[in-house]
Symmetry: C2
Subunit: 391 residues, 2 copies
């Protein structure tokens, strides 16, 4: 489903690989309300600097993305290269450079092949169409599958569409980096509301996943709202607000889960839920400590309900006082009130862990805090993907 | 080298495996000044609770250690089992139970086989001798090599010996857990000074290594000082204090490096040094973020001077403002003042990384803070060791 006002395209520019879509474009026929969420890494790529600045204006028209080169740690030249590519793209499209947001993903440190990108731009403009699939393909690096999600909801009785695409399978890879997400909608919404909705959705989706605990120099989530659905403004009623926020959150959550499912070498998608923490923040911190533990992740790979590793991660999280705890795999409790429930319970838990997707719940008794973090297992495939040379 | 007053022994008790030394004993002929450093994990094993309490008295005579069972997450029964085993050992040795420190390492959650241990005690007492090797062997779990280090120094012209043994190859493993360290000396030293020296040495050795970022429910470092060397008290002069502290620190550092070298699946020992941080604490935090990054560790395994991953870890450490930085592998700079030095520099760095031991220095410009953390690479061997069932 494509929201009204948007077109997409992608071309094979040959930035790093041959015969692979590697530059993509999103264009809105009118100025769209714009919002963005960016990496908190203090080492940031040039396109992050540029997009972070431009999104502040509140309205943009286009998003230009390349794979194969992250334009990160490239200094002043990298910044100028980003300005130049968006200037050329703007000229080709007949819009202002400030209306173009930009993202890059790929090798860190190598200079951006600006002319290669510029040569691709006329074709990129010509290929614009109402199909997001080629764009979703063009942003992939080590991703095995393209990631698109949509929701159609009613606002004031009128259809509104929210559609997103994302890439990512490790938080950062040298060769191939970064999590990127793009969401477009035809809802009518102010830039301020859009930013709030997007930030809220990011917190409950992209900020609740982990593949390897590494965060990228290029992580970016951008959203454009054309306002062309004909529906009343999102701000017109609390219900409209709720409906819209939920749709954006669901699209972001779908995309985030697709990233973990496609995690480098991953064979399992696992939701780690923590309940009874002092507050939600503490629950999230505990869940991340468990979800990022190499020993927990290798146990997930081995389909081993190895609760000693979970207990050890809980204990070093900094958010557990050290009292009783319970651990449940799927619907099978294996530890209750701090006591091990025996080999039969572990056997049942092991059966659940033989599936591709399951949940693990850790229950403590310090408050009402609750959070779920989605993670994947750690396999020999992760090592081989990441130990290989960058050739 | 064995400090005066100490004897060691080990037996095959059959706690988990057959034909393997798995219970060890250290005995001092006189009450020895005692000190201990324990895991900061809030989920702690029963022997940690007991040893932490007993070391407070300032003087102990013996250390009883078993491998194969961690006696962790075993509740009230586990605590009572620890009291019972030390009581039986005390009776066999004719000393008080409160004089016995105790450590366990191995499977978490399983009850301690108390009677199996008790049956081993007469043999353990009989085998006591001036050789630390069998003891060092008996504490091993997934360790491939035993770890012993000694220093002989002069205090007031008289020889003083510091000797230590340790085990560990991952911070915690389900089957086989924990880092344990034991240091003995014949120096004359008060419990208070001994604790200060040991805490200081731990901070610069065991607290500066990482295999996988996981900390155990059982981590323990214990030290006993017999005072039988005939040398003046360590506190008698600043030089004596310095000499003694340095010897203890060197022994701890040797043991810590042996643990990393023996890290599960490890093929590289790598010192990550950070200079120019706001303070030493910030430098240590940055060094640990880099040393624990799965992407950095897989790059070390691939012998790939993949500085983008180091820059990304630096940037997410929370202790780098985002200015210029330099990265040097061995003595080869690959990034200087934020700029990449090109493929020739990377080629030279790659050659250094083909060795088994090397250093990587990350230079920032925010102050005088400096720290070194020792890490190892992440290999497919790590995954297979830790994904296998606990059978």
């Amino acid at each position: 489903m494509i929201p009204k006002g948007f077109e997409f395209s992608a071309v094979m520019a040959g930035i790093k690989y041959k015969d692979r879509l590697d530059v993509g474009l999103v264009l809105c026929e009118a100025p769209a309300a714009a919002a963005g969420v960016f990496t908190r890494n203090t080492v940031v790529a040039a396109p992050v600097v540029v997009s972070r600045e431009r999104v502040k204006s509140g309205f943009c028209r286009a998003i230009l993305v390349n794979a194969g080169n992250a334009n990160a740690c490239t200094g002043k030249q990298g910044y100028e290269d980003t300005l130049r590519t968006t200037a050329t793209m703007a000229k080709t499209l007949g819009i202002s450079p400030e209306e173009i947001l930009v993202c890059s993903t790929g090798v860190i440190g190598a200079p951006l092949p600006v002319e290669t990108m510029e040569r691709a731009m006329p074709g990129l403009a010509e290929a614009l169409a109402g199909d997001i699939a080629p764009f979703a393909k063009s942003i992939m690096t080590t991703d095995l599958v393209e990631k698109v999600s949509s929701r159609r909801v009613k606002i004031g009785g009128v259809d509104v569409v929210v559609t997103g695409a994302a890439k990512g399978s490790g938080m950062i890879k040298p060769d191939m980096a970064t999590m990127l997400g793009f969401v477009v909608t035809d809802a009518k919404v102010s830039p301020k509301t859009l930013q709030e909705v997007l930030s809220g959705a990011a917190e409950l989706s992209f900020n609740r996943i982990t593949v390897d605990g590494d965060t990228s120099t290029n992580d970016t989530l951008l959203m454009l709202a054309s306002g062309l659905s004909g529906a009343p403004a999102v701000e017109s009623s609390p219900e409209a607000m709720k409906t819209f926020s939920k749709a954006v959150e669901e699209v972001c959550r779908d995309l985030a889960r697709m990233i973990v499912r496609d995690g480098e070498g991953a064979t399992k998608l696992v939701d780690i839920t923590v309940t009874g923490a002092a507050d939600d923040r503490a629950a999230k911190a505990i869940a991340f400590t468990i979800a990022e533990s190499p020993l927990v992740k290798t146990a997930l790979h081995g389909e081993d309900p190895n609760w000693g590793r979970i207990a050890a991660a809980l204990g070093r999280s900094g958010h557990f006082k050290g009292g009783e705890f319970g651990i449940t795999v799927g619907d099978v409790p294996i530890v209750k009130a701090g006591a091990w429930l025996g080999t039969e319970a572990e056997k049942a838990a092991r059966e659940i862990m033989q599936g591709n997707e399951f949940g693990i719940t850790v229950e403590i008794f310090e408050g009402e805090g609750r959070a779920t973090v989605t993670t994947c297992d750690f396999s020999a495939g992760y090592i081989s993907i990441n130990a290989n040379y960058r050739s």
